[in-house]
């Protein structure tokens, strides 16, 4: 038995910073020091504090080492593992209080979190089914198969109030109930998992797949039992190689011990699971396009009704759910609906995982009860805005969502509150913006993405998003008029109301919400031809302040297009017609004589 275990994060983030090499080195040093029978190295999933990776936690003490380098490993082994002396310089400083090491759970980052979907991430080895079983894995499946009827299962999920975590927020219990009851005597039904996770900056589902793949397998089997399906498909984007690999290992292990396949737990219930890889299309995160892709066709949505619960994959009743939705299922079964409803708000029960990105100190993955305010997420858990900058807005829902300005920082996060202020929960990407972000450019960024990803089937989206993008280009290059802003808004509503699927219907959201809260920025771009945040280069002008200029000619010599003229020791001048706004002169000037505006 091991007296100590060292957990190393093997999520994609830390792996790309070399965490797996560190794990190998650790095993090497442990062996060298004769500790191989006492200390075990465990490669786990994502802990969530991605900004501080590579991460290593030593148990049982719970010492949290952050930003570990491969050269630190011999010291950690010799000092800590062998002699019990913590290497304080490497410990996450928020856990070091006086000379005591505080528990990670008491730090600002973790103390307001409630890890339900991420319960096992960073705790177990995802490539070992026995560790999943050790944390009560597959007990929910046993309970469902032996002690509950499909109706019982649907009732529990309905009572729990679980809503789709992919962003739509549709009651999961109801979705399962419809798939179970709508079509009598269906000869085949399917369970699907949407692991396409297309939103830029979102990696909640990836972390569950990389850190706890068995929870998905167990939940899909439970869903299969509830609706009467014997086959499931996990549609994973191909850009997640580690997730795909770990999921396949998990599926193989589950099949090996009979937790997938025929007659599970001797109950007469058969269920199997296969992976289907995506091919880089954001639209395939839309449920009908996803199913089209699984069928082997080009990912294009189709009109609904009929909804997938009635006619889905291969025309059969299908339940498509998001990874995070599934991650909650086994615990709801084991702990009951009341446990789940004890967390969250009146209409949004449970927790939500957010991927914090952008201008925020603690970038990474966090899970909080619904109802936590945006202020708590950004300032307490997220550690605030770096470099002393001012918060400007937080974008939720990715290309389908909207921005939340400072005036709404105290809004309790839940599905309905976010929609009321013009945004949406989305899958959980939360990008923070500060005073140096231009909101028009943000809208343009999302439109650029949507234009690229539009499948092209319906006209409002195919052509409409392109026109929106062109209008935003006009605005950021200083060529628009006030009428253009009105046209922009009208086109947004047209696209929203007439597009075939969610991609088009929500593509105008970033534009509409930035117009709602930051109209003054749009007007400044159009009327004053200025970018208040100082981002849109076409609207920027570099000027030399004559009083401060010493005539040293340094700027003129560094200008790549020869736009600066002047005689030595005399104030210089920038020819704005020639200037390409590269900023080289401003960086070179030692007298602060060049300003941007």
């Amino acid at each position: 038995m091991y007296r100590s275990q060292v957990l190393i994060c093997g999520g994609t983030g830390c792996t790309s910073s070399g965490s797996m090499k560190i794990a190998d080195k650790l095993e090497e040093e442990i062996k060298k020091n004769g500790l191989a029978d006492e200390v075990k190295v465990v490669r786990t999933g994502c802990f969530g504090l991605c900004a501080l990776g590579p991460i290593m936690i030593v148990y049982p003490e719970g010492t949290f080492y952050s930003m570990v380098k491969i050269d630190d490993v011999p010291e950690i082994v010799e000092e800590h593992l062998l002699k019990g002396r913590v290497v304080t310089r490497l410990v996450y400083d928020e856990t070091v209080v006086a000379d005591q090491i505080k528990s990670l759970n008491k730090t600002n980052v973790y103390k307001k979190q409630k890890r339900v979907a991420l319960r096992n991430c960073g705790v177990i080895n995802p490539e070992n089914i026995e560790e999943y079983i050790a944390v009560d894995g597959y007990q929910a499946l046993y309970k469902v198969l032996k002690e509950m009827t499909p109706d019982d299962v649907v009732k529990v999920i309905l009572d729990s109030g679980l809503r789709g975590r992919g962003g739509g927020g549709f009651p999961t219990g109801r979705k399962w109930q419809l798939a179970k009851d709508l079509v009598k005597d269906a000869d085949q039904k399917y369970v699907c998992c949407n692991a396409d996770e297309g939103d830029p900056g979102a990696f909640m589902d990836r972390s569950v797949l990389e850190g706890d793949p068995h929870v998905l397998i167990e939940a899909m089997a439970i869903a299969g039992y509830a609706i009467g399906a014997t086959q499931g498909y996990v549609y994973v984007r191909a850009e997640y190689p580690i997730a795909v690999n770990r999921l396949q290992i998990a599926i193989d292990q589950a099949r090996e011990v009979g937790l997938l396949g025929k007659n599970i737990f001797d109950s007469g219930f058969d269920f199997d699971l296969d992976i289907r890889l995506g091919a880089g299309a954001f639209v395939c995160g839309e449920e009908t396009a996803l199913m089209a892709s699984i069928e082997g066709n080009r990912g294009e949505p189709r009109p609904r009704p009929p909804f997938p619960a009635e006619k889905g994959l291969n025309g059969k009743p299908t339940v498509p759910n998001n990874v995070e939705t599934y991650a909650n299922i086994p615990q709801i079964i084991l702990k009951g609906a009341d446990w789940f409803t004890s967390m969250g708000t009146e209409k949004s029960k449970g927790t939500k995982v957010f991927a914090l990105g952008g201008k925020i100190n603690n970038t990474g993955l966090v899970e909080v009860p619904m109802g936590t305010t945006l202020r708590e997420v950004v300032y307490e858990i997220g550690g605030g805005i770096p470099n002393g900058k001012q918060f400007k807005a937080a974008q939720t829902g990715g290309p389908s969502g909207g921005c939340i300005p400072a005036e709404h920082l105290d809004i309790p996060i839940d599905y309905d509150n976010l929609i009321a202020i013009g945004s949406m929960m989305g899958s959980g990407g939360l990008i923070v913006m500060d005073e140096d972000n231009c909101m028009v450019v943000i809208a343009k960024f999302f439109l650029e993405f949507t234009v690229d990803e539009s499948c092209g089937k319906c006209t409002p989206c195919r052509i409409g998003t392109k026109r929106l993008y062109e209008m935003l280009e006009k605005i950021t290059s200083g060529n628009a008029t006030l009428e253009d802003i009105d046209k922009l808004e009208k086109l947004c509503y047209y696209i929203k109301n007439n597009s075939l699927c969610g991609l088009g219907q929500t593509a105008p959201n970033p534009v509409l919400s930035t117009l709602r809260y930051f109209k003054d920025e749009y007007i400044a771009h159009v009327q004053d031809k200025k970018c208040p945040a100082g981002v849109c280069t076409d609207l920027l002008q570099y000027t030399i302040i004559a009083d401060k200029c010493k005539g040293c000619t340094a700027c003129a010599r560094v200008c790549p297009v020869g736009a600066i003229s002047g005689t030595v020791k005399e104030p210089h001048v920038i020819d704005t017609a020639k200037c390409i706004k590269c900023g080289a002169c401003m960086s070179k000037c030692k007298f602060g004589a060049i300003i941007k505006g």
């Binding site: 019990g84 050790a134 597959y138 046993y142």
Partner: protein, 122 residues
């Protein structure tokens, strides 16, 4: 795997391992592992405590090391720290005495006085 028993057997086998990663421990068993401690044979004592509490499934006990406690002649030293109670310092510990301390003190709740420093210093 066809039965609940098989599932639970795996669970029980692996639980103590995974429990090591929880932070629910209230009782801390601290083994002196400085140079003098290691020289006096603290490693087998450490492993004995760690294996023992895992075997017995004592979830709220954590076994860790520490550096020089300052009483080199009494090594290997083991301190048992429980919230609300006075710290107990066991001296000249061995793997066998460790088993006794686990049984009598950690499980039974009675300090094994004969191994403590207070007995020595009397």
């Amino acid at each position: 795997m066809k039965t609940l028993e098989e599932l639970m057997a795996i669970r029980n086998k692996m639980q103590s391992q995974v429990n090591l990663r929880a932070e629910d421990a209230t009782v801390r068993v601290v083994v002196g592992m400085a140079t003098c401690g290691i020289a006096a044979g603290a490693r087998p004592v450490l492993t004995a405590f760690s294996d023992g509490i895992q075997e017995k499934g004592l979830k709220d006990v954590m076994v860790t090391q520490t550096g020089c406690i300052g009483l080199c002649q009494y090594e290997p030293i083991v301190e048992v720290i429980e919230p609300g109670k006075e710290k107990v310092t066991y001296i000249r510990m061995t793997a066998e005495k460790a088993a006794e301390v686990i049984e009598q003190h950690l499980i039974g709740g009675d300090v094994v006085a004969k191994y403590t420093i207070s007995t020595e210093l009397k």
